[in-house]
């Protein structure tokens, strides 16, 4: 073989190895905060914090690199409802997160664009700006609303798109580049800006106008059944719900933390443990809020319970021991809190008093 050919082979191999994963070897540069090139800046927007939250909770969290603006929220609302983000243009975020259902759907598992079902129940979206843990999904694998929004678009069993493809579709759209310019000062669409806009919209989804909120503010009275149900909720010897699901002092009605609540003796879904790799986290899932339950059936990470009655039966006599059962499930060894039929009815009445009808009809949250 000639020297030239030998040299060619060496160069070819060297180039191949060098370029094969240049993506991994590039230093990661921080995403710069874009400064508007023209003279119109987006309009800052301040969340309207409900009185009950102002009285009890810290200010909502907003990441400094994604301040809320009118234009950003509007863009986010458009993107949330636009099937352009999916691989075949048939599904938007709203397909599985519908406003009239507190931003979930009625399925146990939702179906993606290819007709494939997921393995976890679609989660409702409200009060996310008070999730100071900042971990999202049932297993906490995403950091931030921005981090969460990257997932479904490229998930093969959900919207099954690629981000370059989604970005390209938005770039070639007649109006989106202008909306991105208004929101972020650049008409160049980028996946980071897409998730920032969607997150801004999601932060505005606030639910704190239930009967029980009005009761706490002295504006409405509870029925005797609802009051009795709330007492049970707060009683270690009753329903024993407050350690994970909040109280009058924590009107999020969740601790936004991860627990094994005794659903199974052995795990088919590792939950948090699948993300951390720590066996002590196996079978732990994020505590959902108890607001708006009437809209968000079915319940639990795998949607196994179709009704609130089934949930109460489970906590009463269906709790299973396992290696990571939460010690705050103090009645687990007895199978649960052993509520009578009347007690379950009262507890259910209290839970239903956390329904916020104004949330599901709020015109600011609907499709454009």
């Amino acid at each position: 073989m000639t020297t030239t050919n030998k040299l060619t082979f060496v160069i070819l191999i060297a180039l191949a190895v060098f370029y094969s994963c240049s993506k991994d070897k590039d230093p990661v540069t921080p995403t710069p905060i874009s400064t508007p090139p023209n003279n119109t800046s987006p309009t800052p927007y301040t969340l309207n914090i409900p009185t009950i939250f102002a009285q009890t909770l810290p200010a909502p969290f907003n990441p400094p690199n994604n301040p809320l603006t009118v234009e950003g929220i509007e863009l986010g609302r458009h993107l949330f409802y636009d099937p352009i983000l999916s691989g075949d243009g048939t599904q938007s975020c709203a397909t599985c997160h519908a406003p009239t259902l507190a931003f979930t759907d009625t399925n146990q598992f939702s179906t993606g664009i290819d007709g494939l079902k997921g393995n976890r129940n679609s989660m409702p979206i409200f009060n996310a700006a008070w999730n100071f843990n900042n971990k999202f999904f049932w297993d906490g694998r995403a950091l931030g609303l921005e981090g969460q929004a990257f997932g479904p678009v490229r998930n093969p069993i959900e919207m099954h798109n690629t981000w370059p493809n989604a970005v390209s579709s938005l770039q070639n759209h007649p109006t989106y580049p202008n909306m991105f310019n208004a929101a972020f000062g650049t008409p160049t669409v980028d996946s980071v800006l897409v998730v920032r806009a969607i997150s801004q919209f999601e932060r505005t989804l606030i639910s704190a106008n239930s009967k029980f909120d009005r009761y706490l503010l002295g504006m409405e009275a509870l029925t005797p059944q609802e009051a009795s149900g709330f007492n049970l909720f707060m009683d270690q010897q009753g329903g024993d719900c407050f350690h994970c699901h909040g109280s009058a002092g924590n009107p999020l009605w969740t601790d936004n933390d991860f627990h094994n609540n005794g659903l199974d003796a052995t795990f088919t879904d590792l939950g948090l443990g699948g993300v951390t790799g720590n066996p002590a986290d196996n079978g732990k899932f994020k505590t959902p809020s108890l607001r708006n339950l009437i809209f968000t059936a079915p319940y639990m990470h795998d949607g196994r319970f179709q009704t609130i009655d089934e949930v109460l039966d489970f906590y009463s006599t269906g709790v299973q021991m396992s290696s990571t059962i939460d010690p705050m499930m103090e009645h687990a060894a007895n199978g649960g809190v052993q509520l009578t039929a009347q007690e379950k009815a009262n507890l259910k009445a209290f839970l239903l008093s956390l329904t916020d009808n104004s949330f599901i009809t709020n015109p600011n949250f609907q499709a454009p």
């Binding site: 073989m1 050919n5 082979f9 070819l12 191999i13 180039l15 191949a16 190895v17 094969s20 994963c21 993506k23 991994d24 990661v28 921080p30 995403t31 009285q55 009890t56 909770l57 810290p58 969290f61 990441p63 400094p64 690199n65 008070w130 100071f132 843990n133 900042n134 995403a142 950091l143 931030g144 981090g147 990257f150 996946s191 980071v192 998730v195 707060m234 009683d235 270690q236 010897q237 407050f242 350690h243 994970c244 909040g246 109280s247 009058a248 002092g249 924590n250 999020l252 601790d255 066996p279 002590a280 290696s323 990571t324 059962i325 939460d326 010690p327 705050m328 499930m329 103090e330 687990a332």
Partner: protein, 301 residues
């Protein structure tokens, strides 16, 4: 020629295989708030770097003293951290073998006492959580008087020679009437039906119950169901000498003492439903006096 063909195939194979094998799941920092956020990363590799928290203490005069309290946890000498969780490695005075799954507790009302008996009080409280020794959540800016992880800073300490340190385990009855948004969102409330206010401690784990694994939930707060409801623990630690100039006080927290004296703790009797249990609450208050002690003081000058 044969050799050329072979070399061609070989180099093509190397080129193609190196392209595919190195480009599997991309790891990187997946937190959008980090300085080195990588939007293409699909799996977090723990490399996230965050900007330093902003320091709100603009009036912090370095000439004023600073004392840092550091809390180190053990069980009769065996270290306790979140990495020793879920392991049946501790044996109580009652011969119960236990594992620990959670330790959170509230300290407040910090005081320093000078050798002449004068005391100075510090604002603030801290909810300690062994699982979060250094808060990894970068979204919280520390308030002036708020502790960080398992330490508590005492700012603007007057010049002087100090002989002891005091603090309240939990909240005293005045502080327990307060409304603290950060404790509310951490779900730290104590039910109104048991006196309201806040938990003082949630100490949880498992113990061996005739060979079976049972859980314990040692929750301490107001002792509502009896005459002596006030149940916080005033702690006074002596045996140190330090001045205000950048002292670090290392405090030992011996969790074994929760189970030992004056009440030998039988987990079979007292492992859950302890919040409304007056006897259990008063036993906690008594035993807790022994848990904290000074290990050492490091003085900068």
């Amino acid at each position: 020629m044969k050799t050329t063909k072979t070399l061609l195939i070989l180099s093509a194979t190397i080129a193609i295989s190196s392209f595919f094998t190195s480009c599997s799941t991309e790891k990187g920092c997946t937190d959008p708030l980090a300085i080195n956020f990588d939007k293409d990363a699909e799996k977090d590799d723990g490399s996230c770097i965050y900007p330093a928290p902003t320091n709100n203490d603009q009036n912090h005069d370095h000439a004023n003293g600073h004392v840092t309290l550091v809390f180190n946890h053990h069980f009769d000498g065996l270290p306790v951290t979140s990495s020793t969780f879920n392991d049946f490695r501790y044996v109580t005075a009652n011969n119960d073998t236990i594992s620990i799954t959670k330790l959170k507790y509230l300290l407040s009302g910090f005081k320093l006492f000078k050798t002449n008996g004068d005391s100075i009080k510090f604002h603030g409280y801290s909810l300690f959580d062994i699982a979060n020794p250094i808060p990894t959540d970068p979204h919280h800016r520390l308030k002036h008087d708020e502790g960080s992880g398992l330490t508590f800073p005492l700012h603007d300490v007057e010049k002087g020679a100090y002989a002891y340190l005091g603090f309240t385990f939990g909240f005293d009855s005045t502080d327990n009437l307060g409304n603290y948004s950060d404790l509310n969102v951490k779900n730290w409330n104590w039910p109104a039906g048991l006196g309201g206010g806040y938990h003082f401690m949630q100490f949880e784990g498992q113990y061996k119950n005739n060979g079976n694994d049972s859980t314990f939930a040692y929750h301490h707060g107001t002792a509502f169901n009896g005459p002596d409801k006030i149940n916080h623990i005033p702690i006074k630690l002596t045996g140190v000498a330090f001045n205000e100039d950048n002292a670090v006080v290392n405090i030992d927290v011996n969790l074994a003492d929760w189970f030992r004296s004056p009440y030998l703790w039988d987990l079979n009797t007292y492992h859950n439903m302890l919040m409304p249990n007056y006897t259990a609450q008063k036993m906690m208050q008594a035993n807790g006096h022994n848990v904290f002690s000074i290990n050492s003081v490091i003085q900068r000058r």
